[in-house]
Symmetry: C2
Subunit: 386 residues, 2 copies
């Protein structure tokens, strides 16, 4: 096991009806800005429910945070908070709203320069306005971690930031709020969580048995529950297990003490920035190709994954075993409605050079757990994904 530090102070409030406890979690006298996305929180009545629970607080609203939240939008919220002196933010939504809110929270007290420099110049985020979340879409794990991904449209850039200052104070996870999600969003969420686990699991062995078992437990749960979620949107236990899996997939725990990959995500971010594919769609395209191209470096963990997750054992040549393992993974993404080739989205060979150029412009030229995913390797990965 590698040495590690782990700390995660976010309070999780999980279960049906728990939104009622919101008022105890926000400091009395707070002036709260509620941030949200495209309006589904409004349509479903959740926003009204929250306002009723928080009737003793002064409340404002900022809607319209996009999927893949955009710097230009978020800065409007920053201006609003500074002008109106809000003291607490409550993000109501999925990973995009929460990521965006983290950026807003960190940007508000950062007046010395453009907050975009958090990302581009690697300036440490030292403080942030306190915020909590009410999660409506299980996927990114943002509700219990300290990172976010922001898109700057004018630069066609989608980039990540992180800081201990941007852990949510609390997150309310009520699986019932996910009943009304469009199928595509719940499917994307399951794939996103699955790939988060894989990025922290499918590297090389370091004798981290607990982390491996936990990661495998999340994969097995997502495989069991994901397809059910598509068929029976109102099955509470299915939604609860998916929600908790997605949170645990990226709250730092399973990634502690182990190598991490993230090549799939880095390549995927460029695809979303360039062509607007959903985040999970890009992951479903790229991960199987990463597994194939990096199969020698990843063979030990690939075989463990095949055995423990897909029960692929026995006397088959290793190469065949690995192809079978990749096939099963691809098949799971397909069951979850996520296609696994560029051609499924009407994209062809022209994407390769553009994606490589974008990666290079963001200094993403040595990706993966051993920095072996160079542009030449990425080219192979993209070729296999066409």
């Amino acid at each position: 096991m590698q040495n590690f530090q782990f700390m995660n102070p976010t309070k999780i409030i999980f279960g049906k009806g728990e939104v009622i406890k919101l008022s105890h979690e926000i400091p009395a006298g707070s002036k709260i800005l509620i941030t949200y996305g495209g309006g589904s929180a409004k349509k479903t009545g959740l926003l009204d429910e929250i306002k009723t629970v928080l009737k003793d607080f002064t409340i404002g609203e900022f809607g319209g945070i996009e999927p893949n939240p955009v710097y230009e939008t978020l800065m409007k919220a920053v201006d609003l908070i500074r002008a109106e002196k809000y003291t607490f933010i409550l993000a109501v939504g999925g990973g995009s709203v929460i990521d965006g809110t983290k950026f807003i929270a960190a940007a508000v007290p950062f007046v010395q320069a453009d907050p975009w420099t958090f990302i581009t110049d690697g300036i440490a985020i030292k403080e942030a306005l306190p915020f909590g979340t009410v999660l409506t879409l299980p996927a990114t794990g943002s509700e219990m971690n300290n990172g976010g991904v922001i898109t700057r449209k004018s630069l066609q850039a989608k980039l990540a930031f992180a800081s201990p200052a941007v852990y949510p104070k609390f997150s309310v996870l009520d699986p019932v709020y996910t009943y009304t999600l469009p199928t595509r969003q719940i499917a994307n969420g399951v794939v996103d969580a699955y790939v988060h686990v894989m990025e922290q699991y499918l590297t090389y062995p370091v004798a981290a048995k607990v982390q491996d078992r936990f990661a495998e437990g999340l994969l097995l749960t997502l495989i069991e529950e994901g397809p059910k979620a598509l068929q029976k949107p109102e099955n509470y236990d299915v939604r609860a297990n998916i929600m908790w899996s997605a949170t645990m997939a990226l709250n730092g725990l399973i990634g502690s003490g182990v190598p991490q990959d993230w090549a799939t995500h880095m390549i995927g971010h460029e695809i979303t920035a360039l062509y607007g594919l959903d985040h999970a769609q890009t992951l479903a395209i790229i991960l199987p190709s990463v597994m194939q191209v990096m199969q020698v470096e990843k063979s030990d963990k690939l075989l463990q994954y095949g055995e423990r997750i897909w029960h692929i054992t026995g006397d088959i040549p290793i190469d065949d075993k690995i192809m079978l393992i990749i096939e099963r993974t691809r098949n799971f993404f397909a069951i979850m409605g996520n296609k696994t080739h560029f051609s499924d989205y009407g994209l062809g060979r022209e994407v390769i050079d553009k994606i490589l150029a974008s990666l290079e412009s963001h200094q993403m030229v040595k990706l993966g757990e051993k920095s072996l995913v160079t542009p030449a390797v990425t080219r192979k990965i993209l070729e296999l994904s066409l």
Copy 2:
């Protein structure tokens, strides 16, 4: 899944040589009291190593905290801290030293009454002196939770307390410090951690798939690594996996959203208080009997446990299956050097009434996940344990 709240703010600093980071974790200018146990921390040189790292702080020492830490001893540390105005405590040791330190930390600012009333009168612990830990014995999970168990000799009582105020600020977990542990202590630690998992797992199903998989992952790891730890004390990875398993076994995570039992622990505490058996020895005696007596109520989880942990499947009558599952569990404790009957410790039928009387005097008359372990049921459990 049941509704739950989960928050755990303790910072874990894990791995070889990490004690070097201690000085960054304690506020500058702190006056630190180092608490420890029987002196092994001194003998092994760990205490000197820590003092070197903390050379810029004012440091005092309080040794002699017993296994099953005793109120009378702990109150001496409380007096010392109040008199000398220490501002931070650093616990160096295993679960007993850390549990004792939690009690000390909570007792120092509690001047309005005898701190024993935390336990007997259920007075909420609102504040505590900040403290961190350097763990030398993986077992209790105290290094990453907010509970403790204290013994009051004069009353032959061993009782538990808990409060969000007594989470350690940080815990340094260096597996190397466990190399010099006596075999009995590492064996006890593995059994203790195993039973912690079982108390939160072996109840009835609530469709909490992630918690089940995580619990099973810990059990599998302890079964794989425990025996190796007895044979090869200096195998780093084995010790690291046991250490992380023991911490994860009782930091609140696997117990979130699921029913919990704890009957084995409650009965076990009385045995230790009355007869001085090691904590893990009492658990190894009682758990198999609890499994047997409560087999109908626990049958679903017993069978899941048998299948996923001991690979007991196939067309065997359920009763036989369950006996086999209990036998395997008993056998694992035996491999870990923990005997599973009172008679192995020279104790006979006379224990039954005394243990029942002690439980009654502590209002422990409806134990278990459904409060079904009444004195009559406990009598059966004890009969089977003779």
